[in-house]
Amino acid sequence: MNIRVLSSGLLTTVQDLGRMGMQRSGIPVCGAMDRSALLIGNLLVGNADDAACLEATLIGPALQFDEPALIAIAGADFGATVNDQPIPAWHAVYVPRGGTLRVGAHGAGCRPYVAVAGGIDVPSVFGSRSTYIRAAFGGLDGRALRTGDVLARGTPSDRSRAIQHALASDPDCIGVARWTVGPPVRPRYSADAIVRLLDGAQLAELTDESRQRLFDASFRVSASSDRMGYRLGGVELALRRPLEMLSEGVAFGTMQLPPGGVPIVLMADRQTTGGYPRIAEVAAIDLPLIAQLKPGDRVRFRPISLADAQRLYLAHEDDLAQARASIALRFSRGRS
């Protein structure tokens, strides 16, 4: 099956869970900015967790499927349509042969994900299909989608076929699943997000005033935020004294403070190492909330302990496993 890109959207790339194991060569992890959305999208269409999806940005693509397909939109909801009929996000949707999915533009959030049963079939590069545009590898020729591109789809799993069969009671009509993953499992996005921070190695080096500001103030997402990092404007932070740091490894969610005083949260395409003071680390459970912020949106921070952050992460993983198990149960009995 082929997927024709009728319009590319602003920045649409192939992403999966990212490329682990290559960071010592300076190769960034990449992968979905909003991991939860990617995982939920994949499980709604019966994919493995690491199947590749399309990640859109601010303006979604329009895609035409030359054969019947099973899809789901997760993450940002831009009011997607199939053949001009609105479809809900966070639901498996059967798309008839020749159907056109318009992901839409402008709405809550920044990044909608398009999961397709079978996954987006591009070559795996060092264990991942994720696109890294800066060095032009992974995904589709190492670049964002362009209008006129044609994407291949991988082989759908038995579960994907069972879901598709159940939703295609009339093969020429759109079919929307009545079941989904419950809202408690989905990230609670907001354009005025509250994000929890773990202490960074140099948190204690902030002036008392800056440390208070970090947790009291409302930061504005700057226009120069991207898949590499989010720059947070409007509130300047200062260290007690300039610090000379040795470069070392950084993580998804590391909040660096360069000398200018504008904090940067490192995201999916972050460099593998950094030399700026690290004042905080975003709890993994809240990374999707940052990933869905648009330039101009606001974010406030609250402290969290490492034990609580890991407890919440494990609880979210358990929720996803339960959702996966309940879908498996539903389709192992041939019900819909």
């Binding site: 010592r24 060569s25 060095a135 190695a201 993994a284 993983e317």
Partner: protein
Amino acid sequence: MLRYAPLGDHAIVITVGDAIDEATHRLVRAVSARLDETHIPGLVDQVPAFASVVAHYDPAAVAGDAHRVPYDRMVEALETAFAGLEHQRPQPARLVEIPVCYGGELGPDLTEVAERTGLAPNEVVAIHTAGDYLVYMVGFMPGFAYLGGLDARIATPRRQSPRTAVPAGTVGIGGQQTGVYPLVSPGGWNLIGRTPLRVFDMSRDEPALLAAGDRVRFRAITLEEFRSWPA
């Protein structure tokens, strides 16, 4: 000897020292080698640097009593893995020779480096090629090696205004450091030459030409050799 600290909820910084020196580097290499040789459930990646190694892990996949905090269990697993680390055999260092065409349009700042250091351009080249360099770490961008061992006589401050696009393979000097740009990128170093080698190439089994622990020598080649270098 080793210090552990959380880096968010998915990584641990293992610190072995506080300075850029060869003794610290050997400890980093030992920690890194031990992580490669030991199966540690949950460990997904590692990043050796000047004085630390970051271990990236999945808290949901760490072994041990599920009621205990994954970080504590991971630190325990690391401590166990590092038992007897002082007996860790050092991995043999590779020697990588990098041919460089110095000066001219491939090294437009060679004359300026010569002027600033009070040397003749060929003396700068002689000193740069005489050096024995060590790859302390790879990071910052794909395949970028931080080299130690630059002769202080040719150390030259970074340029006032960085160039917007330095070609891949360009060899530069920035302050006390020298190195090779693996990809076309903006850069503020003084550009003294270019290598015909592909410093970073995703189509190879090992995309990065240089890895932490490598010894590096530069060798001067002519423009003709540069142009006829096999791709």
